[in-house]
């Protein structure tokens, strides 16, 4: 295996206003490499394939075990997490690009704060009365827990939004992750007290109606969250509410 190498092409951009450009790197292959460990390797020796000195790549990461949601990027064109992208399972040359639907900060790092704003808009929380001791929470069957748990594993990586054909500036669509969180909180015994507010937030332009059921979201979600199921469940509730609201007018 002597001298086996890894070829990586990275799309770089110095700041939000400047033009992107590509750089190529060739690294010595080692067992167990992933995309993040490769970019770390470049930082320790920032030289391009043709021997030009350059700067370390800017990217987001934290947990390195696919649970913090930081390191999302386009790897060989697909929205996914870089820390769990094993080099041995990727076709070379490997291309790394920042997400295309979020403002680039620098190189592979993008601004995904829109998702956190959306979570605020749909009140994605259980409105507890306070943190003083009020005894135990509502009882839940194991089945209910097993239904909620997968939804609560969303890491806010925004892969589902990047991959969604409807998620763009003209629609202002909130995206699958937010809708799925609405389902999570609307089914919680206490959380459901805000159900109507959440459904209202998903009505109208940019709301759930924008979804074309293309299912790209489910395919890329690194946590296998049942997003289309969430969309159809919440969609039904929004429809129901629209009808009720209409007759109340």
């Amino acid at each position: 295996m002597a001298n086996k190498t890894v070829l990586i092409k990275i799309k770089r951009q110095a700041n939000p206003e400047s033009q992107p450009y590509w750089e190529e790197f060739e690294l010595t292959w080692r067992p167990g490499m992933n995309v993040i460990s490769s970019i770390m390797e470049i930082a320790a020796n920032p030289v391009t394939r043709d021997g030009k000195k350059t700067t370390p790549i800017v990217y987001d990461s934290n947990c390195l075990e696919e649970v913090c949601g930081s390191c999302a990027m386009l790897i060989n064109g697909r929205a996914r997490m870089a820390c769990s992208a094993l080099i041995d399972k990727l076709d070379q040359p490997i291309t790394l690009e920042p997400f295309s639907k979020f403002p680039v900060v620098r190189d592979l790092s993008v601004d995904r704060s829109v998702l956190f704003e959306n979570l605020k808009a749909v009140k994605a929380w259980v409105p507890v009365d306070g943190t003083y001791d009020l005894g135990s929470g509502p009882r839940m069957t194991p089945d209910e827990q097993e239904g909620a748990y997968p939804l609560s594993r969303c890491i806010s990586c925004c892969c589902c939004m990047e991959a969604c054909p409807q998620f763009n500036e003209s629609t202002g669509f909130v995206g699958a992750a937010t809708i799925s969180q609405v389902r999570l909180f609307n089914t919680h015994p206490t959380g459901k007290v805000l159900k109507q507010d959440r459904l209202s937030a998903l009505m109208g332009d940019g709301g759930i109606q924008e979804c074309g059921y293309a299912q790209n979201c489910v395919e890329v979600c690194p946590k296998d969250i049942p997003l289309t199921k969430s969309i159809s469940e919440v969609g039904k509730d929004v429809m129901k509410k629209a009808v009720v609201d209409f007759f109340r007018q």
Partner: protein
């Protein structure tokens, strides 16, 4: 007097967020600083669970037993009153998290389910699948988002804390921080500051910690005069998955659910694990510790694995690895209770642990040491509080599994209200502080930055960091020898010298992450000396701190807290010692 004091919280892990919730609830205005968006904090990595003696399994568990297990597990180095307060508060913390919507696993009756963890004989650990930390952090994050939408909390994400602003009386009046996008340095006034910046794994190069766990903030404060206590107490987790970039944890819950550790009895046995008959396997933990078996505390399991690999030379394929075996447990149970961690193994190693025994080895995991705090979570700097993994208070010389998430939330719940009370009572408030106090600190940091930016040496910061990590992991983890510790300290001094010739190749003033890292590296080096020298001094073995040349615990000389403080003129740590409060559980020999 400030009726609604302004509180700065640095860090948005479990400790920071729980402090934020308490402060906001009490009417304070909270400014919350974090390097990463708080939802991406390291706490999401916690897998196994959180302890509370709810006694829902009819085992006669009690908060007193929880206290006893915790101080015994920590080999009696922890002050006992705060441990007792934490254990007493634990059941109410679990209830609160449950009310906030944490998807804890349930019993058929709809109650919370509990699993067993290391260092106890009771089912005391509540869990949400195998991603408990993620679930707890999200619940707190959601509550903070709610306060944010009511303008009670303002988040400064992608901001890095650089230092505290101290007035001439050494009272903390705010912080100095750097915007990690514009690289601008700014000061922020506050009536009280809470530090909740987590662990220090990066000092050891590879660890189970997340990337931002560098201890840089703690080190900066230590260099500003805060005491750093029990720095030498470093937990090495027995079961991690060796990796290129990180040692990924295989949670203790794998053993809690019945996982067994073994090696082939015969050296160099090349057969696939599954085909090795029972009789030819050595379940050494079960043999050596019949009472606790695979669930002995972490330091004990770690040393046992080291012994089997290094002394008996029985590592799998001659490599430093042993088997952690779950294959005797049925798939359905495994999927229900451990899916999250099994997935990690599958994703990063490529084997299915339901079918093939996992290969694991000990890895640096947690710091019991941290900023010194009193029983109100205040540091020795007035107006500066600390909570979470970055404070030293609860775990003594070894932390029990699932006690950290608890201590983080407890710490936040104590630090928050105390900071608000302090702000109300003592603050002539930050308004009365002359602006020169802030300007001086900003100037100091600006100068530091420009010196670093213009330095044109030849040392690559990432390579210096690797060297530091290799030395620390080799000499300052499981088995410690004074000779090696001395050499390590000399090495760190050399690295500090070479740091003066560091080359920051990226000169950009926009989102320059390698510049930020280079700054942190300096603080890591300074803190590494505290850890190393603390270990060098403590000539005994206690909890995670093990010296083969001094194999016994020595209460006569060493039942005391190490307190390091920085001597600026000498540019190195000095040490003091403090008696441990053992008023509740008298020390006894720790023998599992």
């Amino acid at each position: 007097m400030a009726a609604n004091p302004r509180i700065i919280i640095v860090g948005g892990g479990l400790a920071g967020l729980s402090a934020a919730i308490k402060c906001a609830e009490m009417g304070a205005s909270v400014d919350l600083f974090s390097i990463v968006p708080v939802k991406r904090s390291h706490s999401v990595c916690a897998q196994g669970g959180i302890n509370a003696a709810k006694n829902l399994k009819g085992e006669g568990d009690s908060t007193w037993q929880h206290l006893d297990d915790t101080v015994y597990g920590g080999d009696f180095l922890a002050n006992q009153p705060p441990v007792k307060a934490m254990c007493d508060m634990a059941p109410a913390i679990i209830d609160l998290l449950d009310r906030m919507g944490v998807t804890f696993n349930r019993t058929p009756e709809g109650l919370l389910d509990f699993r067993r963890f290391g260092g106890t004989l009771h089912h005391r650990t509540a869990f949400a699948g195998a991603t408990t930390g993620q679930q707890l952090l999200y619940a707190l994050d959601e509550q903070v988002r709610r306060f944010e939408s009511e303008d009670k909390v303002t988040k400064y994400e992608s901001w890095e804390f650089l230092s505290a602003v101290l007035d001439p009386q050494r009272v903390c009046r705010g912080i100095c921080a750097m915007d990690l996008r514009t690289m601008e340095v700014k000061t922020f006034p506050a009536d009280a500051v809470i530090i909740a910046t987590g662990g220090i794994g990066a000092i050891f190069g590879k660890s189970t910690n997340s990337v931002v766990c560098t201890g840089s903030a703690q080190s900066a404060l230590y260099q500003q005069g805060a005491y750093y206590a029990n720095g030498e107490m470093i937990q090495v987790h027995p079961t991690s998955i060796p990796g290129e970039d990180k040692l990924r944890l295989m949670s203790e819950s794998a053993r809690g659910e019945g996982g067994r550790v073994w090696v082939p009895k015969q050296k160099g046995d090349k057969r696939p694990a599954k085909s090795i008959p029972e009789g030819e396997r050595w379940y050494f933990l079960e043999e050596w510790y019949p009472k606790y078996g695979n669930l002995v505390p972490r330091d004990v399991a770690t040393r046992a694995i080291h012994k089997v690999v290094h002394e008996y030379d029985l590592g799998i394929d001659g490599q430093p690895m042993v088997y952690l075996d779950l294959t005797h447990i049925d798939r359905e149970t495994l999927n229900k209770k451990l899916e999250g961690i099994l997935e990690i193994y599958e994703k990063f190693v490529g084997d299915d642990p339901r079918e093939v025994p996992m290969k694991i080895f000990p890895g640096m995991h947690y710091t019991m040491g941290g900023l010194w705090v009193d029983f109100n979570q205040q540091t020795n700097i007035q107006g500066l509080y600390a909570a979470g993994e970055c404070d030293y208070s609860i775990h003594g010389s070894n932390r029990l599994g699932a006690n950290s998430l608890l201590s983080c939330i407890y710490g936040g719940f104590i630090a928050g209200p105390n900071a608000v009370r302090y702000g109300r009572e003592n603050g002539k408030s930050s308004d009365g502080v002359p602006s020169s106090v802030y300007e001086t600190e900003k100037k100091r940091q600006d100068e530091l930055n420009s010196r670093l930016m213009t330095s044109d040496g030849t040392e690559n910061p990432f390579k210096l960091w690797r060297e530091l990590g290799e030395w620390m992991s080799k000499n300052v983890t499981v088995s410690r020898y004074n000779k090696n510790l001395k050499e390590t300290d000399t090495k760190i001094v050399e690295l500090l010298e070479r740091y003066r010739h560091v080359n920051v190749s990226d000169k950009s003033m926009w989102a320059n992450t390698s510049f930020a890292f280079t700054r942190q590296l300096y603080n890591m080096l300074q803190l590494a000396r505290v850890v190393t020298q603390g270990a060098l001094m403590r000539d005994e073995s206690r909890g995670s701190h093990y010296k083969p040349d001094f194999p016994d615990r020595d209460d006569k000389n060493w039942l005391k807290t190490t307190k390091a403080y920085f001597a600026p003129d000498a540019d190195e740590p000095r040490f003091e010692f403090e008696a441990v409060d053992i008023s509740l559980v008298p020390p006894r020999v720790r023998k599992y």
